[in-house]
Symmetry: C2
Subunit: 331 residues, 2 copies
């Protein structure tokens, strides 16, 4: 086996901590440093709730870690918007490190931030490194899997993806994020100010369109509460009858007046039959189902970590899941 | 849109003719030439049973077409064994053309023919072109799809793929290939001399192992007839009770005494519940199902054609589905 990839974990929220723990499990990776102002100065082993110290002191500054740590790549888990993280990407690139990020908008940055994305792409090329945004959603089920299902089609007329997640089985932050336990009024208020939403559905939609070389003439996104028909208690909160149990979010894409893409996400407490369903209308038609659905809390750190070698072997640049080698589990 | 890719169709059997017809449907491709000794001198439009001539005369010699045709890539559908086609690949590479091939063993040539594969890889690099073997099976359902399902796993303990095909719905050549209508004795005789078999199951197995960086300590392949419990008439033949309806073929892979890969193909007349099922034992476990199964006759030419741009944009070399960009439908 080749030399282990030395990884800096940037961001130690729930996903970041899970990713760091997974790096420790992988024989092909080595944890080299960590950044998070919330844990400045603490030993990473303690922050990860291991039974031992790791001898890696968490720093509050990315620049300091980049300057003092011998590493190959950064696992980046600090934010959801490309506008919020592109400065961190630039620092990482200038330090000559590759980067895999959980930033939802970075999964297809050319959509909302084409100019900044183009700049970062050039910066990557100049420094000989690559950056990729990925995850389970966006990053896998509603975009990459949907796209690869079309590989066996002579013709594709429309693609539809349905993801149903029982938020009641997920971590507290996610249950709060989808508005579980709020009144309908409060839900709509927060949805309006974008405090409640799944980030990345639009990215998934535009990713598929780009993959299929489709010029979309219209893109639309809606969000609505799913109101609970009964009282449900999760480990973290209670949803009473009539309150929001979570979201039903839909992104649609049109080509010349015809609806060709529809991504529908149901993420609420008490959702039944969790699953991911890809339906390709075309010749031949295809229906690909992930039975039980891809479990985000486990799978998101996994795909981030698994993509590290793929990013490092890619041509330098700002990548998407379209332009790296086939994503797969690593040792 | 960029300039159309000019394609030479090499091999005009059933899959080759379907592939050529599909090239004609695609706005991003242009059919530039055709080779098949069986149709030497005939107009390609007639061979493809179109209602018009195409002004493309089928040649009996690949070398002649390569020498006289302005083209970018070859769609290659002439044979199943790498030993049988690698000379044609070398001709194509030396002519400076890319190649996508339906040759089953070319889907992972490093398995049975590592030396010849390495030679061709070097030849590709020297001439700045790429070659890829792909298809539906091998090429997609039992290997590529199984591999990408592991991308969201922290740990993979074992991968199992089951493909069930009702051979009764497929073309005559395939029904004959799986031994439908033979006595059990005749089936076993022909299976022994490898006249009856699905080619490529071992390739799919080794592809997954390579993808997951697993050193297999043992690989095993078995083939047995599925005997019909009743008389079944297809469009092309009749299977009476007790005769072979088709094959049950299994490839297994072990790592250190533990069975970690199992690919099972049921391809027989009258098979019920056709489907492709990928089961990943791991954390999290994954179960991905193509409902109804991926229909090979339609889908094989589709994936060949769809991979043309992916091969052309790849780094020069002998590729597998692991090293090209994400496979998807093209316009």
């Amino acid at each position: 086996m080749s030399k282990p990839i030395r990884v800096i974990q940037c961001g130690l929220g729930d996903i970041g901590r899970r990713a760091a723990r997974l790096v420790l499990e992988k024989s092909s990776l080595r944890l080299a440093g960590a950044v998070d102002p919330r844990f400045d100065g603490r030993d990473l082993g303690r922050v990860l709730e291991l039974d031992r110290a790791l001898g890696i002191r968490v720093s509050d500054k990315l620049s300091a870690v980049l300057a003092t740590t011998k590493a190959d790549a950064v696992l980046h888990c600090t934010g959801s918007t490309f506008a919020g993280v592109h400065g961190q990407f630039a620092e990482i690139i200038r330090a000559g490190l590759h980067c895999v990020s959980s930033c939802e908008e970075a999964m297809f940055p050319f959509y909302r931030e084409p100019k900044r994305a183009a700049q970062l792409n050039r910066l990557c090329a100049r420094h000989g490194v690559s950056v990729l945004g990925t995850g389970v959603n966006p990053g896998f089920v509603m975009d990459t899997l949907a796209t690869i299902a079309t590989a066996v089609c002579r013709r594709v007329d429309a693609v539809r993806v349905l993801r149903v997640v029982d938020a009641g089985t997920r971590r507290e932050a996610l249950q709060r994020k989808v508005g579980a336990g709020l009144s309908e009024k409060e839900f709509r208020k927060r949805a309006k100010t974008r405090q409640i939403r799944h980030v990345g559905l639009g990215e998934s939609l535009v990713f598929i369109a780009e993959a299929l070389d489709w010029d979309l003439t219209k893109v639309d996104e809606t969000i609505a509460p799913v109101l609970s028909e009964k009282t449900i208690r999760t480990k973290h909160l209670t949803v009473t009858k009539g309150q929001a149990a979570g979201v039903r979010q839909v992104a649609t894409g049109w080509r010349d007046g015809r609806k060709v893409l529809e991504l529908e996400l149901h993420m609420y407490v008490g959702a039944t039959k969790p699953r991911d369903e890809v339906t390709v209308n075309g010749i031949p038609p295809m229906r690909v189902v992930v039975e039980g659905g891809t479990p985000g809390d486990e799978a998101t750190p996994a795909i981030l970590v698994n993509c590290l070698p793929r990013v490092m072997e890619a041509k330098p640049g700002l990548h998407t899941m379209l332009t790296i080698g086939l994503p797969r589990a690593i040792l």
